[in-house]
Subunit: 213 residues, 2 copies
């Protein structure tokens, strides 16, 4: 498989963790986002949305959207599982993952930051305010839920890593990059610590990728 | 089951379609979003994220995030299916659904429009520009993909409604509400026409809900 991504893309980072957890070997192709490589004709032929990541299967099919890719990996390489067995528990895990993947990350994507910079004349400080605002809204909600919920264990759900952790760790990485104050998220930080002890997570870290600058 | 939602919430609209397609009977509770009912303590106790929809199961469990809810319905009420059987096809359908649910809809949510109004002093015209910009970016990409892809049929994927159609129809409804020009999306409009012939879709329409104003 070939992962079309970028070392700093948070959504590509999710897919790297999932591939590693499932011990699937893969190659990486890098699209430097700030230079607009994801808008090149070559990449748009692969993904008309012009967003990384895209996963190219061994048969040459291109899959897009990180969570759809991870669901595919879960269905085709079920062990170890990234979703618990019971439907209610699966809904909980997917719901936690989507707080990050649907309600937080898309707001803080590069193209959105560029838009508010260009249209609303926001400088780096203004973009940082935007970024930090949405991180706080959603990580507050996530910490609130995880800290009081009996289903939370060593990881977001119980004592094995799931799709929710796969989304949480890249989001925390990005939050720090934007100087968000994450110190109050005791539950999230505890879960992060447990995740980063696993080689699948630590090997997926941005600074450990071949295209990292 | 009780669907905690609002007639105009696009994400609640998705869940209504899915419940209808699966012929699951449900009650609705309404949270008028512009009045901030989704931020009431009563609702925050159900969903700390303060976003609709939330689905309350017959056992009283609260599920959040529309796509996580729909996956739950798919797992617990598998017929009719909202996902095709083959993993690659499932990944395609989920990927299409997530173009809308992850990359488009969250940018145009009420809280984001309120934020750009307050912080960047955008009036209704400015908010409409923001809204229309992101609709165009993503619906252009979606039309591009669906129009050239052999897997597209009468619906987004083949000839039965899937999770992708469940996301597409509410998004087109919202796009028109914000005066987006959707006339060039021939494939999307053809699919919409097929969907709206199904009672499950038409009965889920915002203006047909009990709390519609």
């Amino acid at each position: 498989m070939i992962l079309h991504g970028y070392w700093r893309s948070s959504a590509a980072y999710r897919v790297r963790i999932a591939l590693n957890l499932k011990r699937i070997s893969y190659q990486q192709t890098s699209y430097p986002l700030r230079q607009g490589a994801q808008r090149s004709l070559e990449f748009l032929a692969r993904n008309p949305q012009g967003l990384v990541p895209a996963l190219e299967t061994d048969e040459g099919t291109i899959l897009t959207q990180s969570l759809a890719i991870i669901e595919y990996l879960e269905e085709t390489h079920p062990h170890p599982t990234l979703l618990p067995p019971h439907p209610l528990a699966r809904a909980r895990v997917r719901g936690l993952a989507m707080i990050i993947a649907c309600d937080l990350h898309p707001l803080n994507n590069l193209r959105v930051l560029n838009f508010i910079g260009d249209r609303y004349r926001q400088d780096d400080a203004g973009k940082t305010q935007w970024y930090q605002h949405w991180v706080k809204v959603e990580l507050d909600a996530l910490e609130n839920r995880l800290s009081r919920d009996a289903a939370t264990g060593k990881f977001c759900h119980g004592n094995t890593a799931t799709m929710a952790d796969v989304c949480l760790i890249p989001q925390l990485y990005n939050a720090r990059r934007w100087n968000c104050d994450v110190r109050s998220y005791q539950t999230l930080l505890r879960i992060e610590e447990a995740c980063l002890l696993l080689p699948a997570f630590s090997a997926a870290a941005p600074e450990r990728q071949p295209d990292s600058e």
